[in-house]
Amino acid sequence: MELATESSTVGTGRDYTHLVQDYRVHGSLYSDPAVFADEMKRIFTDGWVFVGHESEIPDAGDWVARRLGAENVLMARTHDGEISVVANRCAHRGTTLCPQTEGNSRNFRCPYHAWTYDLDGTLLGAPFPKGFQNGKPDVRLDQPGQVDVYRGFVFANQSGAAGPLSEHLGPGGSDLIDRAADMSPTGRLQLNGGWLGQRADSNWKMWPESDNDGYHIIFAHESLAASLLAGSQYEDVILGGEGETSSVARDYGGGHVELDFRASYATELAWLGAPRSKVNAYCDDLEAAYGDDKAKQIMWDGPPHAFVFPNLFLGEMNIARIDPLAPGLTEHFHTPLLVESSDPGINRRVILQSEAAMGPASFFLPEDVVIAERMHRAFDTNPTDQHAWVDLRRGIEREQHSDGQRWSDITDETTSRGFWHHYRHVMSRIGEAAAASPNGSPGNGQG
């Protein structure tokens, strides 16, 4: 609780209840360094953040380097088989321990003075012990206050005060992750197909927006209408035009949102773009594992197209993470959603789909990047402009709600509003006091 007290003293004076309104958000939220600093604290330190997947580090000593808010961390498998998340920063002088993106090590050894840490961050030793009281400095690698795993997805909460992961995910987020994990007949995904990174010179929040925007697809990605999309799984679900598909934009609360294509798929495995004959063994595996009814549902529904707040994108055949590096710099890493199945064909197809959809040379993501970068230019140049609002009103009058969920036509901005609604909640929990300060309005620039 000491942490909560601390956070109330570091607010930058931005009034998030004013900057995030029900149908519009202020452009400075994308470009203002003070907003970014508040986000690093209130979202990425005080809240739960997706780090990686346990299948990436199957063996003792395996580790991957990750970003956790403003900190570089290592996610490792300890000698006891546990998952650890520790700072990739020597507790002595701060040297980066592992400059690579992944590896396998018996321990983490700093190149500077050879301080050596166990995979869980415990200091094993520092050379020349006589210079230290008790022969060893009383330090360890920093670690998040909480680490938890749901269906193999590893999350961390730096402050330790965010409450349980199950509360953060809620029924909506848990169900989305369940649907992704259930694509594997064993219920365990195997995210070992490598990560590809896409750099965007834009703010990170354009990713939860564009990854989950059902309105832009036939326009921003129009160049595919004549080629890749025609006859593909997307023809039915997004090319129909307003009111002509059964796809739905959903807001589950908690910032978790989905473009729900399920009702639009005209055949089983439409999401895979292949008939059952091409992946028979996979379908048999699903039936053997789940029974005919649930297997059939999985084969029809496919993996979700959804966002789990604040940085996990379940992008159908891809799992993606969003790393905010600066107000105007974001990295979007994705890995194919690989499953455990006796059918080698399923993962081969998933990798091909992954390569088509995401990455800097793919058929989809480059358009989203260039649009995010153009949006960012608009707000980067006018951070204090009182007129620089982003309009998100589409469908607000016709969306439906029940039991804490909202949904509307696939082309409605229900998903963006869902993200921002939760963003406002998180960002203004302590911002209400700050709003009374003279620096509370966007017109006052850098506070």
């Binding site: 197909g193 990798i351 800097p360 040379a361 480059p366």
Partner: protein, 173 residues
């Protein structure tokens, strides 16, 4: 030491320069004419020491997917290349690494040449940021001698920074 005589080396070098010019100038249909029907066009992630398709790659195209890529670029609405990036690349360190007689295995006499080269590509990213971007890597071509002249049967591009998050690469690399 080259695996071919001087005249063949010059022919291969001229071919690579021609291909580079078409790619720099985004002359997609002309560029596509330089590739065989069984082309494999690959930009691996990392070292490229894996089987294409076993892990995710930046590009892993057969002829069909490559043709789709060109169709998309030609649509005028591939916004990541509207306007097209002005580009120039320098090709150097050209080495003919091996000659494979009857490389396509059809029993004929067509040779295939395994050619390594380095490149530095300057791209003016005019679509949003106006950055000058620099792409650096090693290309391995498999060139096949056909009735129409040399054609590209395989092209593998290993970027030096392929483990990093990369900006848009929607042009012909």
């Amino acid at each position: 030491m080259s695996a071919v005589d001087g005249a063949t080396h010059r022919e291969i070098q001229e071919f690579l320069y021609h291909e580079a010019m078409l790619a720099d100038e985004s002359r997609y249909p002309e560029w596509l004419e330089l590739v065989t029907d069984d082309i494999h066009y690959w930009v691996p992630a990392g070292d490229g020491d894996y089987e294409p398709g076993s892990r995710v790659s930046f590009l892993n195209d057969n002829r069909t997917r490559l043709a789709t890529r060109i169709t998309q670029l030609m649509s005028g609405r591939r916004y990541s290349q509207v306007p097209k990036s002005p580009m120039r690349r320098i090709i150097s360190n050209i080495q003919v690494l091996a000659v494979h007689p009857d490389g396509d295995g059809d029993g004929g006499s067509a040779d295939e040449y395994e050619v390594g080269s380095n490149f530095v590509l300057y791209e003016h990213a005019v679509q949003a940021t106006n950055d000058m971007r620099i792409w650096v890597g090693r290309t391995t071509h498999r060139l096949r001698r056909t009735d129409e002249g040399l054609r590209i049967a395989r092209k593998k591009i290993e970027l030096v920074n392929s483990t990093s998050a990369l900006p848009n690469m929607a042009f012909i690399i």
